[in-house]
Symmetry: C2
Subunit: 338 residues, 2 copies
């Protein structure tokens, strides 16, 4: 009989996640039935969209029901198995639970290969969500071309750090927007952005215009609100706005959030604004992951992780996403990789 | 020496067009130089975008400068010519002036054929702007397919009446949004919309959901504001929002206008929102006009005109566009067709 700690969704937050939004409980898991497996969670991915799963918005996915275990993307080791697709000792990644151990029939999980030279945390942090998201946003939605000027907001976020590197690999000029001098310096010197703008330093439109006087070809938007407005103001005619995230509004709850004030530029600049959800592209994951892993092994694409230790810290860590508190991909280390 | 009455832009309106925004003057035109022609204006097209040309917004076109003659699309008869491309007696259509007579070198004008069976007003009203706009919006931007559910806002406007008919010709199910019972009845019984919703009759989202329970494939947006919000709320996953006009905000002047509150649906429903300006498509006008004229001559596409007589009434007539005061294509008859 396996005991596990597991987070439950017990109080719907009105705005920010509160200390009593989720509750950590200890429970005993059942024995495996035929076809089931027991997973030991190694890493829990903390993604901006998780706040939405706790809301009453009409979403792209079923939300977490009040009273249910909290959901999230995990990578885990198979420690018992009555399912030949997931042998003991192998890795599985997928939409799981905020839990040390999980019993599942494998639905929603895929086997994850161990790649020589690539630690599990790096592989999961970059290949599971952030990497495919950046790839789809830049290529399938943004249709970037060499020489394009690409503006990436939340450039220091999980998706932003990958997007900047991928845009460089594809010979674009890439400008990041982030908050704070340290992050901006890190993005330029370490991550490889051509230019980085600190939105806390004053007029964002003027700062963008200073480094991109001819305007933006592709805006890769992760934030929304005033930052999206500044981007829309600086678009070239016939530019593309990829809406990957609108994190600035995810704590708004039942309040009505105004859309971008410069929405009229969709006509004035003849823009295409297109949103996407990475879950729609799982069929093409092998193709994306092969490319991304190749660039990682060549040293062209670096994993940038922000790791918080201990499942018990997951709720508090999640709040970092909504306060610009993370630098790179935010994950909780739930169990050791040994 | 030809005398003409001509409107000038003399006071920039803060919001609505005021009685002193434009001023009607009488002036004497110069003799023709080599290459020039003298046009006698037959019809002046009143288009929603004209209000923007009087604003200080950053536009897709040069605005009308304060003090300059007012611009607009016209069809005119060539009454004198020193330009072989425009023989006396022929018709010319293009971006002209709010003026009974115009001297020009022909730049910005195209010869317009006289089509047997098609009065000049019908041909100009449908083929010059509204028809190509509806065609480009539905096909190039909206990429409609047979069986699509298409929602058209400002359905009784110049573009809306054509859009509804073209969507039917292409085997779509077409739902219009308009204001007032008479207009709605006319759109359904005369123009051929499958369903028409009166936005003045209460909750717009519920009304759309009642006639399109599975949602909207293509939203052809002419209005913006609350009407766009209702449309965004009712989109199918992977739907398309064609932004042709945002007339509800065109009188906002220097005020900041919030974008659509349901903007988040660009992600939740994975939408493509794309704007366009018909002036970008002039090279393809012959193709569009041939198709449109063909449908007109077959009786499948009917011209729907709202004609106001007399150049002196043009300023007052223009205001009808922003108060839902027109039904069909609004034009001023400046000179007789004889």
């Amino acid at each position: 009989m396996t005991q596990t700690r597991r987070w439950y969704f017990v109080n719907r937050p009105k705005h920010q996640i509160e200390p009593d939004t989720l509750e950590l409980r200890t429970e005993t898991l059942p024995e495996l039935a035929e076809g089931e497996l027991l997973l030991r969670t190694l890493y829990l991915s903390l993604d901006a969209t998780l706040r939405l799963w706790l809301s009453e918005w009409d979403l792209y996915i079923d939300p977490v029901k009040l009273g249910d275990p909290m959901k999230g993307f995990v990578v885990a080791e198979v420690v018992q198995s009555r399912n030949p697709a997931f042998p003991v000792g192998s890795l599985a990644a997928g939409l799981g639970l905020w839990s040390e151990y999980i019993v599942t029939d494998g639905s929603g999980y895929s086997p994850m290969p161990r790649l020589p030279g690539l630690p599990i945390g790096d592989a999961f942090g970059t290949l599971a969500i952030a990497g495919p998201t950046a790839y789809v946003g830049l290529h399938e939605i943004g249709r970037i071309k060499p020489g394009d000027t690409v503006l990436v907001t939340a450039a220091a976020g999980a998706v932003g750090v990958i997007t900047g590197q991928l845009a460089k690999i594809h010979d674009c000029r890439v400008i990041g927007v982030a908050g704070g001098a340290d992050k901006c310096r890190w993005l330029k010197e370490e991550v490889g952005y051509d230019e980085v703008i600190d939105y806390k330093r004053g007029n964002l439109v003027e700062q963008i215009q200073a480094v991109a006087p001819d305007g933006i070809d592709v805006l890769f938007e992760n934030v929304g609100g005033e930052i999206l407005d500044a981007g829309l103001t600086c678009m070239k005619n016939f530019g593309t706005v990829v809406i990957c995230g609108l994190i600035s509004s995810y704590n708004d709850g039942a309040e009505r959030t105004p859309g971008p004030y410069m929405f009229r530029n969709v006509i004035m600049r003849r823009l295409r604004i297109e949103g996407f959800v990475i879950l729609d592209y799982v069929d093409r994951y092998p193709e994306y992951q092969q490319k991304l892993a190749g660039w990682m092994l060549e040293g062209k694409l670096k994993s940038r992780l922000h790791i918080v230790d201990g499942l018990e810290n997951a709720q508090e860590a999640l709040k970092l996403l909504y306060t610009s508190g993370n630098t790179g991909k935010l994950m909780v280390r739930v169990g050791s990789e040994h």
